[in-house]
């Protein structure tokens, strides 16, 4: 029977079928960060003699809050640090830190056909490599650390075929938001999204990661893209340069529980106006006339409001969605020679990304524009450690969630691509790079 990419990866990792459609699924890689790992590691220490299935299948790092912001987060970091040391687990401490979904690919810990999990919902990012990678809770992660396996219900597979090619300023972020708007904010629940088509093939690995990162925002178990020459070239350049094969591909006649086709050439730059990532409009459009009143009340917007009329109080470029080097380069092109008019924070996805950006002089561009250039962490995305919003503050953000309170109690978040965030930071309202006045003396400024 012809099989999908997901089917092949899943089938190759099922250790045992369990009652009720569940299976014991082997995990090739377990990613462990300081926020969700400690309770599970401590339980294993107390109840199972600190015994792990295979420490070499785990990679750990300081991720969300780096460095610690208080004694509590210091204890989280220290707990993971000590645990990794005594278990011989590769550990990326502050200085070498980063968001796990940025570190794991850039170091080459993930590869095609692998399975991976982490106590972090955006683990679906790793599906960009043709892996089956998913977010789970702390106890499930502990189970994988203890026994090497997760207990999972086999998801259905939805093929998301993106034809044509992105154009006219549309980015992978716009495609990610368009996919969610197309299948619905919870339309992916119970499914793995398997992205196929010419527009997907044309994406770089970093763009594929942006797309897969937001599969969870449609409720999907994960997103997956079959590996190809682009994947191989990316992995070959990583420090770990893992051995891998490109053989795991969907059969041409594979059947899918559902197929959705999106014309990639018609994808336009979009910005969210509501309180979930499915609530988006084209940047040159309006807040829909039939937008839910509850979303608009929270966001203090009116139906029919022109998107580019929405004034902002803060801008943020960062997060596991859009803080890789290509995102920073794209944003820097917009900032170059211009000034921000609202508080703007630029947070690289890892210290490796930060150092690369500085080698290229991007940090000077951000800081010349008046933006705050920070070290790597999750930053303002989840309102946990820095750049938190006050009630009523409105932030345009390259992150992935605009839920009520996500970036701070009462804060309002508009999701967009890094170039749109940069343009908005300069305009002081939601706006696109094409609206920015040309810099007559731009070359002089650069010289």
């Amino acid at each position: 029977m012809p099989r999908s990419l997901f089917d092949k990866v899943w089938d190759a990792h099922v250790v045992e079928e369990l009652p009720g459609g569940n299976a014991l699924v082997f995990m090739d890689l377990i990613v462990a960060h300081e926020i969700t790992t400690p309770p599970g590691a401590i339980t294993i220490e107390k109840e199972f003699d600190d015994r792990l299935y295979d420490p070499q299948r785990i990679v750990a790092m300081i991720d969300h809050v780096a460095p610690a912001k208080d004694s509590a987060t210091a204890l989280q970091g220290q707990t993971v640090r000590n645990w990794a040391k005594r278990q011989g687990i590769p550990f990326h401490d502050i200085g070498d830190n980063g968001i796990c979904h940025v570190i794991v690919p850039e170091r080459g810990y993930i590869g095609p056909g692998m399975t991976a999990c982490c106590g972090d919902s955006h683990t679906c990012t790793l599906g960009a490599f043709g892996a089956f990678a998913l977010g789970i809770g702390t106890t499930a992660q502990a189970g994988a650390m203890l026994a090497g396996c997760l207990i999972l219900q086999r998801p259905k597979v939805m093929r998301v075929d993106v034809t044509g090619e992105l154009q006219g300023g549309a980015t992978a972020k716009d495609l990610a938001l368009t996919v969610i708007a197309t299948i619905g904010f919870r339309g992916g629940t119970g499914y793995v999204l398997e992205y196929t088509g010419s527009a997907i093939r044309a994406l770089t690995m970093e763009q594929r990661m942006t797309l897969c990162n937001m599969a969870i925002e449609a409720g999907a178990t994960t997103g997956m893209i079959a590996a190809d020459a682009t994947t191989a070239a990316y992995l070959a350049a990583t420090p770990n340069a893992p051995a891998f094969s490109l053989d795991v591909q969907a059969d041409p006649d594979a059947e899918y529980a559902k197929t959705v086709t999106i014309d990639g050439s018609a994808v336009r730059p979009v910005v969210s106006w509501g309180t979930n990532p499915g609530e988006c409009s084209p940047i040159d459009g309006i807040v829909p006339l039939d937008a839910p009143a509850e979303s608009l009340a929270y966001m203090a917007l009116k139906p029919g409001q022109v998107m580019t009329s929405i004034a902002i109080d803060q801008a943020f470029i960062g997060s596991c969605t859009n803080a890789r080097i290509s995102d920073l380069r794209a944003a820097a092109e917009v900032f170059r020679g211009r000034k921000v008019t609202v508080p703007t924070i630029v947070t690289p996805g890892s210290q490796v990304v930060r150092r690369q950006a500085e080698r290229e002089g991007l940090h000077d561009i951000f800081q010349d524009a008046g933006a705050l250039w920070t070290h790597s962490s999750c930053g303002p995305c989840l309102g946990m450690s820095m750049g938190v919003l006050a009630p009523g503050m409105r932030c345009v953000s390259s992150s992935n969630r605009n839920f009520p309170g996500r970036m701070g109690d009462g804060g309002r978040v508009h999701l967009a691509a890094p170039v749109v965030v940069a343009a908005s930071a300069i305009l002081g309202r939601i706006g696109s790079p094409s609206e920015l006045p040309a810099l007559a003396d731009r070359e002089a400024v650069l010289a």
Partner: protein, 174 residues
């Protein structure tokens, strides 16, 4: 196993785990103390909890528990005395976390959930997979047969621990 009590009606769809417990409280290495911050991220959370003191069953709309994977959401609900959540649908990770922690996740039809929001007292027979509101007709629901064991008797990690020899053989033969 009987779970019974009064209802906290959450009349919103898509309540994500940031609303159940905001990220600023994810700074502990244990699961204690989460209950006092339950629903702090939900705009009407404090009001709702104050209006329904002693409630032990959440009834919500579609897609409860979406977003972040934080198991803290289940710990916060349990820490505040909740023992079951009833909704037309759950996000996958929240549902898995709920089962693992014996917070019973019960899926019912949307109209049933709406009706249950006005109930005074709900009695849930977990083993029999039925519930009754205010002494009315029994409503049947379905639990995951494997995960139901973890609700009734705990032992999620023990279950996996017992599988290790089989997993090692599988891996060796890979």
């Amino acid at each position: 196993m009987i779970v019974e009590g009064s209802v906290l009606p959450v009349r919103h769809a898509n309540i994500d785990t940031d609303q159940i417990i905001p990220a600023r409280y994810l700074t502990r290495i244990d699961t204690a103390g989460m209950g006092e911050h339950l629903f702090e991220g939900m705009p009407d959370g404090a009001t709702l909890l104050a209006e329904h003191p002693g409630a032990s069953i959440v009834v919500a709309r579609e897609n409860f528990g979406c977003g972040s994977s934080r198991e803290h959401a289940a710990w916060a609900l349990l820490g505040r005395g909740f023992r079951a959540v009833i909704a037309p649908s759950f996000a996958r990770i929240f549902e898995e976390n709920a089962y693992t922690n014996a917070l019973v996740p019960i899926v019912v039809a949307p109209d049933v959930a709406e009706a249950l929001m006005s109930a005074q007292h709900i009695v849930i027979d977990v083993a029999a997979e039925t519930l009754r509101a205010d002494g009315g007709e029994a409503v049947a629901f379905k639990l995951d047969p494997l995960r139901k064991q973890f609700v009734l008797g705990g032992g999620f990690l023990q279950f996996l621990n017992a599988k290790i020899p089989a997993i090692r053989s599988w891996e060796a033969a890979r």
